[in-house]
Each structure stands twice: as structure tokens, then as C-alpha cells.
Amino acid sequence: MSRGLKTFSAWFLLLFGLLMLVYPKVAHHPLFPVFKYQTLRSYHPALIPFVYIGSYLSRAWGAFIFAFMLGGIIAAFVPSRRMQALLSGRRIRSYIFAAAFAPILTVCSCAMIPIFGGILIAGAGVGPAISFLLMAPAANFLALIFTAEIISWKLAVARFLFSFIGAIFVGYILDKTPWAKREEERYSRIKAAKVSGEIELDFHMKSEEALREAWGLASKALPYLLLGVAAVSYVEAYLPKEVVATYLTGLHGIVLGAAIGVPMYTPTLVEVFLVKALINLGMSPGSALAFLIGAPMASIPSMLGVSRIINWRCVLNYAALAVVVGIIAGFVYMITVGTL
């Protein structure tokens, strides 16, 4: 493929995806017939995952193209190193920057721990590093686009706002603990390595890079996403409504919603589909929000990864506080907004 064609494809896919995402909303009329989820159980059990995935693909393919291409473009064009430098400024400011930049600095989850370490050795301290770490999975832009598209835009906005405030709050509290101070001293002695003799990339090269990044992102996420959604299809078809109504509504529903996500690790984006299925079965919006914030913030794989860098006391404390943030978010949402 020639360079011009690659540059064109990258930006064309972004615009095309956006158009397909926006069109049904402006025209008030879906591109494909809307699937009735109540009929799911009438299919043969072996067919359920396929029917289910098909229904989402016909509805959200625009969002898929847009979200993954945007991920590629952000990865290639956003000056991440310059943004990382801002995170190491004055203390209060670095908390805000850490939480604000996290959604776009971590398009690929593998960037999370290196940047986390980068904030530590830049001298900004454990607090802003934790804020970054919590915000990145709970409110990255991929998760937000899918929350808005699959569940509702109100819940997506709430997910962003509560994750933002919660991440800063947990980071700030943890920063005051003696365990955090110890880590801060340990890491402040390290100096960040500088890149020497780097090649400057032009617009074409960056667009090409964006296309590669988008493909990498999609090919990494899609297999797990499809498997995850297939599993969710059985939850939606066979989990009795009474169970959801008993456990995932009301006050205790919010507490359970925030806590069940911790041991139940879901791959990237699968949490959105799972919550949507549970909402269809009767989960309350407050409980849904608590899950969407608590589960990614305190997921066990990320805790294991981080425990290599900072001590276990810090890790367990931030995870416990993240669950509390999920509960508070769900509760506030229940009494202020209440609907999807």
C-alpha cells in the first residue's frame, strides 16, 4: 500500500466510524432492525452466543470502528512524553493532570505500569501515580464510548466524573500514609532515561503508525471481547430475573455491585456488555455504576502488576478505597439521577 493510501485509510476509517455512530442518533432510526432480547431464550443454546454477538455487531459496528481507530490516532499523535512531563509538576496540579490525562495516555493497557513508574520517579509522588492508575482503566475513552453507546450517555458521564473525583481522592489519601512515603523516597533517587538521537516522524508516518496501532489494539482486544460477550449471552439468557432483582437493586445492590467486580476479572470492555445484560435483567442504575467503577479500579491482575512496584499495603489500601468510591458513586447516582 502506498503512503498516501495508508494516511487516507486511517482518517477515513475514523470519520466513517464516527458517521455510522452518530447517524442513527440524528436520524432517530437504527441502521438495522433492533433485536428483542426477551426472545433470547427461545433460540437453541448453541446458537445463543452467535445471535447475541450478531445483535451487538449490527448495532455497534460504527462504535467499534470509531473507537479503535481513535485509539490508534491518539497513540500515534498525542505527544505522550510531553504530557507525562506535566504530571510531575507541583503536587496538587499533578493530581489533576494525572487523572485528566490517564484516559488518553493508556490506549493500550500495557502502557499503564511504565507510566505509573514514570510518575513515581519524576518525583510527583505516590498520590498522583495512584490517581493515574485508578482513572486509566475506569474511565479510558474506549470504555466511555462503549458505555455511552451500549448502556446510556448519562451513565458514561457519571462513570467519568465519579472516577475522576474518586481517583484524585484515593490518591490524595494514600499519599499521606507512611507506606507511600517509603516508596516515594525509594523512587525519588532514580532518574528518567532520555531518548537520544530520535527520528522525527512526519504526518504520513504518524498516520501509518496510527493504522498499525488501531489494528494492533483491535486484534488484541477482539478475541477476548468476543469470548466475553459469548459468556455474557448465557448470563442474559439463563440468569433468573429474581436473582438480579434480589441482589442487584437498592442499597445492598450498590455495595454488592462495587464489590463483585474485584474477584470477577473481566477483559477490556466486556464489563460494559455484562452490565448491560444485568440491566436488562433488572439491575439498578446505581448498582451498575458502582460495578463499572469498582471492578476496573480494583481488578486483581492490575493489583498483581502494581505490587511489583509498590508494597502490598499500598495496593490493598487503594483497592479497598476504590470499592468505597464505587459504592459512594452508585449511591449518589441513585439519589440524584436514578435513571439510565
Binding site: 497513540a75 500515534a76 505522550s80 512524553r81 507525562q84 493500550c108 493497557s109 500495557c110 502502557a111 505500569i113 511504565p114 507510566i115 513508574g117 514514570g118 513515581l120 520517579i121 519524576a122 523512587y187 532514580i190 532518574k191 528518567a192 532515561a193 532520555k194 531518548v195 537520544s196 538521537g197 530520535e198 527520528i199 503508525e209 498499525r212 494492533g216 486484534s219 488484541k220 502488576g305 511489583r308 512496584i309
Partner: protein
């Protein structure tokens, strides 16, 4: 010559290692390519983006996958 690739096990990091090995092979030079997965070691050496490429202890690329051609050029400078 020592070429170090820092990664966290993601596909991009593996691709970087592959490209580095290919560059060394095509140039026919005597160089060792090692892949470091340990996050603590990565941070201790001041690396804050993955994948990253170090040649003889000097950081050359951080946060993206360099092409084979690019690595060849970096080896010579």
C-alpha cells in the same frame, strides 16, 4: 554490542524484539538482543514507556515499535 528491549509482554513489545533481531541478522553484526520483562528493573533504569529500545545502555526508542530499517540506522549512529 548489546541491544535491550523493554516490554511488558504485549504484542507491540514482542514485535520490537523481532524487529531488533531481524536488524541484527540482516546487518550480520555481533550483537546480543535481550528482552527485559521485569517492570521493577525497567523503572529502576528510568524507562517510563513501553516498548523501549536501548543500545549499549543508551535509550533510543520509547513508546512505539521501531521498524527494522530504523533499528539498523540506530545501530550505526
Amino acid at each position: 554490542m548489546k541491544i535491550e528491549v523493554f516490554g511488558v509482554g504485549c504484542p507491540k513489545c514482542k514485535k520490537t524484539e523481532e524487529n531488533a533481531k531481524k536488524a541484527v541478522k540482516e546487518l550480520g553484526i555481533d550483537a546480543e538482543v535481550v528482552h527485559i520483562y521485569d517492570q521493577l528493573q525497567m523503572i529502576s533504569r528510568g524507562i517510563t514507556a513501553s516498548p523501549a529500545l536501548m543500545i549499549d545502555g543508551e535509550l533510543k526508542v520509547a513508546g512505539r515499535v521501531p521498524t527494522v530499517e530504523e533499528i539498523k540506522k540506530l545501530i550505526f549512529t
